[in-house]
Symmetry: C2
Subunit: 140 residues, 2 copies
DNA sequence: TCTTTTACTTGCGTTTTGCAATTTAAATTG
DNA sequence: CAATTTAAATTGCAAAACGCAAGTAAAAGA
């Protein structure tokens, strides 16, 4: 029903991603190829387990990730990015470039942002390929 | 002291922009050339005035906007984007494209996202120019 | 069987939000 | 110039979200 505050695309993005943790979970899945609860719970910012559970559920509910029971270990849940989740790569890259330009409180080499600025599409493809590799290694 | 949770650029962005309102304030300043409290308080999502005050203060504190008393009306505060604030244009454009691709619950024509995808830099320049025009009209 | 691992869940105090009403100061109007 | 209107911000309070530590359930490993 009165589900959304408006039909503005930025509002839509903010309703899904707008908090202190959601994008960090996505970051770890995209840039660090993490795919389990325990790996994600070790992110350097220190997310609490109840919050992580909640964010993973929300991300699944909004179609950004998929959750499945690991085929080798029934305790494990395997989280993977959907097409829409992978679609966030350009957003994260822009945020990275912005932060790097905005502050020196951040660890990104100039070489990295330079590369992104020079050829964004190539940077996106590179990350997608790295992820594909990681997930094929993870698969038995 | 222990100011930031990490030195990751995405974390930095999230610490500044990661909530339900901040990016909507920036959106209205960038895309709708709004520059006063009352204009911003009328955004379609319905922001409360205490929240708006808080977000404007935070945005100023993090160097994304500047606040000054209007030269013609001492009740008015005039908000303007800094260089760093304008640097968020590419981020907002990527979020717009992502939302448009992610859901149909959003009002963006395909023409708009197509244009952005075809030539991002041109889209950024166009928005910057439009803003420059609006602010020069606003100036006495 | 006993221990460890993985993914949650619970309880509880703190913080942030949302909403309506109110306040302050400055401009406008009659 | 007194009364009204406007712009920005503040206050009070209930509801929701968060942060942390501890606890639980189920499966795996020793």
């Amino acid at each position: 029903m009165g589900k959304h505050r408006s039909r503005c695309p930025m509002n839509h993005a903010v309703e899904i991603l707008g908090d202190q943790w959601t994008l960090l979970v996505v970051r770890d899945m995209i840039f660090h190829a993490k795919n389990s609860f325990s790996e994600l719970s070790e992110m350097p910012e220190g997310i609490a387990t109840n919050i992580l559970t909640d964010r993973l559920n929300r991300l699944e509910a909004s179609g950004i990730i998929e959750k499945r029971v690991d085929s080798h270990d029934a305790r494990k849940r395997n989280y993977s990015l959907t097409r829409h989740g992978l679609g966030l790569i350009p957003v994260l890259l822009e945020l990275m470039v912005w932060s790097r330009d905005h502050t020196s409180d951040v660890d990104v080499t100039h070489a990295v942002t330079k590369k992104i600025k020079r050829d964004r599409e190539a940077a996106v493809v590179e990350i997608r390929d790295r992820l594909k590799q990681a997930s094929s290694l993870a698969r038995d």
